[in-house]
């Protein structure tokens, strides 16, 4: 049985269609990523799945129960971490946790096996108020609070937004650890580089799923030759090459700009020759493997 089954869910707010006909499954024990920019409909979909909102049409099941009729069951078995870390800023780490433990009818001590490793990292500061914690520590505390009743399914809405790269990495390590204990996880994020940490991902854009596969599968489907190119000044280089025949797209991406061509048999020599005629820059170019962002951009531009 799938942990979460989403079947043709749609939801509008006035004129805005936040979620358009989304369907996917999160398998039991899977770490599933909902990846897309702000406004793609991730939060709305998550609110429907955690039974905070009702869909306009379509249906969804969480742990086998319908999100509309079976919401009572679902509320007992999911852990949910909303977009903003939902913590009481004026309560200490300990007080926040015992409050959430209490409303879920459990005690902190009983749940140590699941969140023990994470809790250990913040335990030395347990008397400190949540408002005085760093972003990374708040994130850990919020995760502890979401795990406090030992949920079967964990749903996290943008847990890494606004958090630095190191804390983000640590957070994903924690998620992998939680997953190992048999908990299914649905997580949303706007950071495409986090896709690789998921078992499977759905790329979402403007309320629709534009790709659904393993991260590797999505990259494998990228059907065009892609090159990394670098000059003395990448901005000028991009300007100079943007009218090259057969060019599909060209955009900055880290140290090397990414250059995607239409022709499957495109060689880097040809590009180099074209560029040499156009510019006086010293150019480095080599074929590279597309990343998730390249795939996302390709689907946005030509999908």
């Amino acid at each position: 049985m799938a942990a979460i089954e989403v079947h043709q869910i749609s939801k509008s707010f006035g004129e805005t269609k936040a979620v358009k006909d989304m369907s996917f499954n999160v398998n039991d024990g899977e770490l599933f990523g909902l990846i897309g920019p702000d406004g793609a409909g991730k939060t709305t979909l998550i609110k429907i799945l955690v039974t905070l909102q009702k869909p306009d049409s379509g249906s969804a099941k969480v742990d086998g129960q319908d999100v509309v009729s079976g919401y009572h069951h679902i509320r007992n078995i999911i852990g949910y971490m909303p977009g903003k870390f939902a913590l009481y800023q004026d309560l200490s780490i300990e007080e926040n946790m015992s409050f959430f433990a209490d409303i879920f009818g459990t005690k902190i001590e009983e749940q140590m096996e699941l969140m023990g490793d994470i809790y250990k990292q913040i335990e030395p500061f347990k008397k400190r108020k949540a408002g005085q914690l760093s972003g990374g520590m708040k994130q850990k505390l919020a995760l502890c609070c979401a795990l406090i009743h030992k949920p079967k399914i964990l749903v996290l809405d943008e847990p890494t937004t606004g958090v630095d790269a190191v804390s983000r990495r640590e957070f994903w390590d924690m998620l992998s650890h939680i997953k190992k204990q048999g908990i299914s996880i649905l997580v949303s994020t706007p950071y495409m580089d986090e896709a690789a940490r998921c078992d499977r991902i759905a790329l979402v854009q403007e309320g629709s799923i534009i790709a659904l596969d393993t991260p590797k599968g999505i990259i494998k489907d990228f059907a065009h030759p892609i090159f990394g190119i670098k000059g003395d000044n990448n901005y000028h280089l991009i300007e100079e090459l943007k009218n090259m025949p057969g060019l599909r797209s060209l955009y900055p991406s880290g140290e090397y700009a990414h250059l995607v061509m239409d022709d499957k048999n495109q060689s880097s020599e040809e590009i180099k020759n074209y560029a040499a005629a156009k510019t006086h820059q010293k150019i480095e170019i080599e074929p590279i493997e597309a990343d998730i962002e390249d795939c996302f951009i390709e689907m946005m531009q030509h999908g």
């Binding site: 920019p37 760093s134 630095d164 804390s167 983000r168 955009y251 900055p252 880290g254």
Partner: protein
């Protein structure tokens, strides 16, 4: 040594304490005119404090700094006139129209009526926003808001622009378009001082600094830093430096 003319931001042992806590500890760096300078660091590493001092919003505890040639202690007002500031969250008024936002900022920076009119037209044409000029900012897509905020932050032709996590949460294509805009501005001689959590964006910068616990732990071109730490990406450099401190 570059002559002073070519230096946009210069700090020497710039320090800010809050009680016993040293938020920014002897920050020393130079940003050249027309440079894209990436100001990186983990949450709570002291970036925001340093940035606020450079913008003339916060008095340093000790040390020196000049921004656009003006002293942060004595000439904060002059600094404010010569810098632009943009953060993703606070730059535009959501309940004002696109046009009204541009006019508002023009007014705030003391542009004449005629200049405001010209600038407004220029920005709207430049961004292709004629169709939405009378829409509320709340109604336009995030990527557009960002481009608009970036243009508005330059309405008074500042010498330096401070960008505080300008690209959070936007799609990859818009993010790249936005960076293209940054490049274009830098190409015209504008100095860009930018913070970001996207490590690939760190690679777009001419030079970056990485702050850890209030101190600059690394400073150089992305290439040089990667070579120094013998890793393949800025992400790895960052992790290498910031790890150990953020886990506590």
């Amino acid at each position: 040594m570059d002559n002073q003319e070519n230096i946009a931001v210069k700090t020497n042992k710039l320090t800010r304490k809050f009680g016993d806590f040293i938020a920014t500890d002897e920050l020393t760096l130079e940003v050249k005119k027309g440079e894209i300078f990436g100001f990186l660091g983990a949450n709570g590493a002291g970036k925001t404090t340093a940035m606020r001092m450079l913008c003339g919003l916060l008095k340093p505890s000790s040390g020196e700094a000049t921004v656009a040639g003006f002293d942060v202690y004595k000439q904060a007002e002059k600094i404010k006139k010569n810098i632009g500031y943009m953060s993703q969250k606070f730059s535009l008024y959501e309940d004002l129209k696109v046009k009204e936002n541009i006019e508002l900022y023009g007014g705030i920076y003391g542009l004449s009526r005629k200049e405001i009119k010209e600038k407004t037209k220029h920005i709207i044409d430049d961004l292709n926003m004629k169709s939405v000029e009378n829409k509320l900012v709340a109604e336009i897509p995030l990527g557009w808001k960002q481009k608009l905020a970036f243009s508005v932050a330059q309405i008074h032709d500042p010498k330096i622009i401070f960008l505080d996590e300008p690209t959070g949460g936007v799609d990859p294509l818009t993010r790249r378009q936005f960076w293209n805009g940054i490049y274009a501005s830098a190409d015209r001689g504008l100095t860009i001082f930018v913070t970001t959590h996207y490590m690939d964006e760190a690679e777009y910068c001419n030079r970056v600094s990485i702050m850890v616990d209030g101190k600059v732990k690394a400073l150089g071109t992305p290439r040089a830093l990667k070579d120094e730490y013998k890793v393949g990406s800025m992400d790895d450099v960052f992790t290498e430096l910031a790890r150990g401190t953020s886990t506590k």
